[in-house]
């Protein structure tokens, strides 16, 4: 059984989802790469931001 940490799971999810989003949502190759990187950054940074918000709510 594979038991990744929360953050590893986020990174894996963001990586695979971003690859598919990049390929399917843009037509030009460079735009695909840029959009994939953009989605990956939003996934990861969004998760980190949400984590801090939850930490602040708890404390």
């Amino acid at each position: 059984m594979y038991t990744p940490s929360h953050f590893t799971a986020v990174l894996l999810f963001a990586l695979f989802a971003s690859v598919v989003f990049g390929i399917t949502q843009r037509s030009e190759t460079r735009a695909m790469v840029r959009y994939g990187v953009y989605c990956f950054s939003l996934f990861v940074l969004g998760t980190i931001a949400a984590s801090w918000v939850m930490w602040l709510i708890k404390h």
Binding site: M1, Y2, T3, L12, F16, V19, S27, E28, T29, V33
Partner: protein
């Protein structure tokens, strides 16, 4: 950026390709059945490989985390939506039904992640299959 160059080369090859061999419906069905196959059939092999790896790895990781594969059900709305999402996995879903993969109760938190990975892999495969269809009908380059 060797991948970028490879994809650009692939696009150039595709633009010189001859008449379209497969109908849009066949492309859509193939893309759903095997992730990336719809792109492969149109000569977009780099995109096909990337889509296949991404969607299959996501599904496999979901199973490795002991995620649950939803069976057809008429219970809770979220369970029904989970089944619809899983159905997007196409051939992978059929294999999981045949071999009994992911048919267990979620007991640990990583299994809950795994269940989401499997559902999202299905949703991404839906997007991928529709993208292949759009390429075939000329709605996208």
């Amino acid at each position: 950026m060797s991948t970028t160059k490879a994809i650009m080369k692939e696009s150039a090859v595709q633009s010189k390709a001859g008449p379209k061999k497969f109908s849009a419906g066949v492309i859509l069905l193939a893309g759903w059945l095997i992730p990336g196959l719809g792109h492969w059939m149109q000569g977009r092999w780099i995109r096909a490989i990337l889509l296949f790896i991404s969607i299959t790895c996501m599904f496999a990781l979901g199973l490795a985390m002991r995620g649950m594969v939803y069976a057809p059900n008429t219970g809770d709305v979220l369970d029904m939506l989970g089944f619809v999402g899983d159905l997007g996995d196409g051939g992978l879903y059929i294999l999981s039904a045949v071999f009994g993969w992911g048919h267990h109760i979620v007991q640990v938190v990583t299994a809950d992640y795994g269940t989401k990975f499997i559902v999202v892999a299905g949703l991404l495969n839906f997007i991928s299959a529709v993208d292949a269809h759009s390429l075939r009908v000329g709605r996208k380059r």
